[in-house]
């Protein structure tokens, strides 16, 4: 067999291995071009800064607070084990756990209700309603909450009128009100997706096999909506762990959480290396949580 000229590969057969390989490579490149804008953007403004943060976490702090890269050490990482950091981390952790639990408790029945509406149109309207808060900025919405919870706000006035509560602003309940408000949609949406694709004949089979309504829910509906529960919990837990705006504006920044502690390091304390190491540590924890999610059988978020 003669060696075929590449351009005239059709001399003996229309396609030969060489041409097929080239076609495949062209295809791969075409795919990359589609992804290129996002790829470049993320590399420049996400991956690169992340690497910078990571690198700075090994720098030492100069006398004026300037990070010195040439005198690198792991002091900032060892500082993570100081009691103060641990206290703040534990506090943030519990705040995130509690908020996740609250969102799940409030969000599950709601998602279930939406997902079980007979008409697709009704379900769509309700889902859009869940997303309406995103039409305005998170910060603006949090300030709106501040007005509601302040001394002359409606919620405080109602509480004082009924004698149930006083001024809520700058209290722990205010922080949770704000967090629940902010993150509830992130819980409802994946739960909705999971419940909506549930095979209801399984629930019917359960009822047919002597399960009461409650038993069928506990034994069938709940375990089968687990992917949604896990996805929603991660989507709420991760941002709650680093929550900064809500505790700051509604909680009055009275208690230090990881979020504002990091801000302090980069700002007032002028300790970039330490701020970087805390940020890095949180990232690693979140990564671990996410990996756990995918390992435990979760699917698309």
């Amino acid at each position: 067999m003669t060696i075929l000229d590449e351009r005239e590969g059709s001399r003996e057969t229309a396609v030969n291995p060489k041409l097929e390989r080239r076609a495949r490579r062209r295809d791969a490149w075409r795919g990359f071009f589609h992804a290129a804008p996002a790829f470049l953007y993320l590399t420049l403004f996400f991956t690169l800064p992340l690497i910078i943060v990571f690198v700075f976490s090994f720098a030492s702090r100069g006398r004026t607070g300037r990070p010195l890269l040439e005198a690198w050490n792991i002091d900032s990482w060892t500082r993570l084990f100081e009691p103060l950091v641990r206290t703040i981390a534990v506090r943030s952790f519990w705040l995130a756990v509690l908020n996740t639990a609250l969102c799940l408790l409030v969000g599950y029945p709601f998602a279930y209700w939406i997902a079980t509406r007979r008409k697709q149109a009704t379900r769509n309207i309700l889902l859009v309603a869940v997303l309406i808060p995103f039409w305005s900025n998170f910060l603006v919405r949090t300030y709106a909450w501040r007005m509601l919870l302040d001394s002359d706000g409606y919620i405080t006035q109602f509480g004082e009128m009924t004698g149930l509560w006083g001024r809520l602003l700058f209290t722990v309940p205010a922080v949770f009100l704000g967090l629940l408000y902010g993150y509830l949609p992130f819980m409802v949406l994946p739960l909705y997706a999971a419940i909506e694709r549930l095979d209801w004949s399984l629930v019917e089979a359960g009822r047919d096999l002597y399960a009461s309504g409650a038993a069928a829910f506990r034994r069938i509906t709940l375990p089968l909506s687990r992917p949604g529960i896990i996805a929603g919990s991660i989507l709420v837990f991760i941002p709650s762990l680093g929550a900064y705006v809500t505790p700051d504006i509604l909680g009055g920044a009275k208690t230090t959480l990881l979020g504002n502690y990091i801000v302090t390091q980069f700002g007032a304390a002028r300790n970039w290396p330490f701020g970087s190491s805390i940020s890095g540590a949180i990232l690693i924890v979140m990564l671990a949580v996410t990996v756990f999610y995918f390992r435990s059988g979760g699917r698309t978020l």
């Binding site: 399984l202 019917e204 089979a205 002597y210 399960a211």
Partner: protein, 358 residues
């Protein structure tokens, strides 16, 4: 079969909204120990009827009784029946054993008793050794058996089956048909079987209810349904059938479109427009009517087409305005062969032809 009623439906009607009447005033008595089929095309209300017996759907009107007990609005978990669902509805988060034991666990049966009965049920459907498998690691036929075991393990008074073999391929379906019938014999409980497959209904059932547009079209034993359909719908839905338009000439005789008068079973009065129904297997071909005894019905025709099928020959016989007949003749050495253009005589026994009015 002691004749006691296992399930009694009285005036059962189910409406979905204002417009849709899925089941329309159905009266039905299913006897104890019977293999009873609800047969009909999709949307005829057979599945809805089954679901009302199960309690998965409540009737809009009427009464459902199980062994004389009024079910009313009783939820499915409080009814002495179990269902084998169309798509099996096996719990994906439980293995075979857990699936089968689910009903007993819900009934708070002793764990040792559960273990014993689950093993028994798994053995009954020949799935021993698969106890720890997940449902999605099983083949369609095996899943079907798990669904069956999961229902039977509870020893229901009535087992409801909603097109349980619909998802299986032909070969497996035929095997499972026999197996289901054997299992029913073995456990001796009443089976109510929903299917759109008339052959399946005929081969398995003690009695069949043919449904159409929410109503009962005919209830009877397979032989009756097949041999003496009461309406054109039943005649057309169950088995293959030739339909020949005509009118009643006199009692027991029908005039066909070509003027030929043939004898047939009919209950209509002379002059009524009827359709003569005739089973293909009741038709035979001869060279001339002189070869036949005088009491037979004959029609003259010509061979229009022939196709070789291996085990049989297929002839299309043209009988002018009356229509054309597809006749299959088994290939035996003694069998006469015809060629296209040959004149033939179609023969059928008067008893095998039924004239039905619209």
């Amino acid at each position: 079969m002691d004749g006691q009623a296992a399930v009694t439906l009285t005036g059962v009607t189910k409406k979905f909204g204002e417009e849709v009447t899925a089941v329309d005033d159905v009266d039905l008595e299913i006897r104890d120990g019977e293999f009873f089929s609800l047969l009909g095309p999709s949307g005829c209300g057979k599945t809805t009827t089954l679901r009302m017996i199960a309690g998965l759907e409540f009737p809009t009107d009427g009464s459902v009784q199980i062994f004389g007990e009024e079910m009313g609005l009783r939820p499915p978990n409080k009814r002495p029946v179990n269902t084998v669902f169309q798509s099996y509805a096996l719990f994906p988060h439980m293995n075979v054993e857990q699936n089968v034991g689910f009903g007993l666990r819900m009934q708070k049966v002793e764990p040792s008793e559960i273990a014993r009965r689950v093993a028994e049920a798994i053995d009954l459907v020949r799935l021993s050794g698969m106890e720890k498998r997940a449902p999605n690691a099983l083949s369609g036929g095996q899943q079907q058996r798990v669904a069956l075991a999961r229902a039977l393990v509870n020893r229901p008074k009535v087992l409801l089956l909603d097109e349980p073999l619909g998802a299986l391929d032909l070969k497996l379906r035929q095997t499972m048909q026999l197996e289901l019938k054997d299992i029913q014999h073995e456990v001796g409980i009443t089976f109510v079987y929903v299917t759109h497959d008339q052959e399946e209904a005929l081969t398995m059932s003690d009695r069949i209810a043919v449904m159409n547009e929410g109503k009962l079209a005919q209830v009877g034993m397979p032989e009756e349904i097949y041999g003496s359909p009461v309406s054109l719908f039943v005649a057309g839905f169950v088995g293959d059938m030739f339909f020949l338009p005509g009118e009643v000439a006199e009692a027991g005789a029908v005039r066909l479109a070509g003027g030929q008068i043939v004898r047939a079973k009919t209950s209509s009065s002379p002059g009524t427009a009827v359709t003569l129904t005739l089973r293909p297997e009741m038709i035979h071909l001869y060279a001339s009517s002189s070869e036949l005894p005088p009491d037979r019905n004959t029609l003259d025709g010509t061979i229009a087409r022939k196709i070789f099928y291996g085990d049989s020959m297929f002839y299309e016989v043209d009988v002018g305005v009356v229509g054309s007949f597809d006749v299959r003749v088994e290939n035996a050495p003694s069998m006469r062969r015809w060629e296209v253009g040959d004149s033939v005589v179609i023969d059928f026994h008067p008893e095998s032809a039924t004239a039905l009015a619209e």
